[in-house]
């Protein structure tokens, strides 16, 4: 798993490549926590190059969503792979995340 982050004025963009499972979910969570702890609660996630995500990753998504929503922010998707969508759908959690076609639209949603 590879994580890149980009901070805009009001929005942070987190781009993940590779696999999010129990081996990597911790690092994913740390990255997101760092932002939320700084009060950066508008998060765009670009998961278009994530080729596997298990519930360990979903857990991070759901807890982060709870944290940022509680702080008046949101976490939205800017493109996600078929695989990410499939896992979300199987888990019945796809309704939780607004999905935008690209990073531009996702950043613009805030």
């Amino acid at each position: 798993m590879d994580i890149q982050t980009q901070e805009h004025k009001r929005v942070v963009v987190v781009t993940v490549q590779g696999r999010i499972d129990s081996a990597t979910a911790g690092e994913f969570e740390d990255t997101l926590n760092e932002f939320t702890q700084q009060g950066k609660n508008n998060i765009v996630l670009d998961l278009s190059n994530v080729d596997f995500i298990s519930s360990a990753g979903l857990r991070v998504l759901v807890t982060t969503r709870k944290a940022v929503k509680g702080a008046g922010g949101n976490i939205v998707f800017a493109g996600s792979s078929e695989q990410v969508l499939e896992t979300l759908e199987i888990a019945g959690l796809d309704v939780l995340f607004e999905k935008y076609s690209d990073r531009e639209a996702a950043i613009g949603s805030f």
Binding site: F52, K66, E86
Partner: protein
């Protein structure tokens, strides 16, 4: 019937080789790419649970993964030496709203929703989890 067995250390860095094995077997069984992905997901969830909850931490405890296929059918058997745990018990119906989604407890539900058959047995001090999935006729045309 084709079959293969993989013995791994109970460590997270082994997950991908398990998924590769499952993917290959599911392809051999003629599954669609969506079904192949789902099988990988279900087995990954089971193995991640064995490592996290069964062995409790990332120590060197073995997990055995046996896959066997016939056309349209994938069977996976997972064996571990961790304390007994039966994931077919204790499934609670969950009610959740978009404002209060579930944080945990997704793994076992994912396994059950993907697999057609989930069976557990405890034999000679080991957990045996048998997972079976059959190819959906309807998905042939969509993938």
């Amino acid at each position: 019937m084709d079959s293969a067995t993989l013995r791994i250390e109970g460590q997270y860095d082994q997950l991908q080789s398990v998924r590769d094995l499952i993917n290959q077997a599911a392809e051999n069984a003629g599954f669609s790419s969506k079904e192949c992905y789902a099988c990988q997901l279900a087995v990954s969830e089971a193995v991640e649970n064995i490592i996290r909850h069964g062995y409790g931490r990332e120590v060197e405890n073995k997990i055995q993964v046996t896959v066997s296929t016939e056309p349209g059918v994938l069977n996976v058997e997972l064996t571990d030496d961790a304390p007994p745990f039966n994931p077919t018990n204790n499934r609670k119906e969950r009610q959740w709203s978009i404002d209060d989604p579930p944080i945990g407890g997704l793994g076992i539900e994912i396994i059950h929703s993907i697999m057609d058959d989930v069976e557990y047995s405890r034999e000679s001090g080991r957990n045996h989890l048998s997972l079976q999935k059959k190819k959906r006729a309807s998905s042939e045309s969509t993938d």
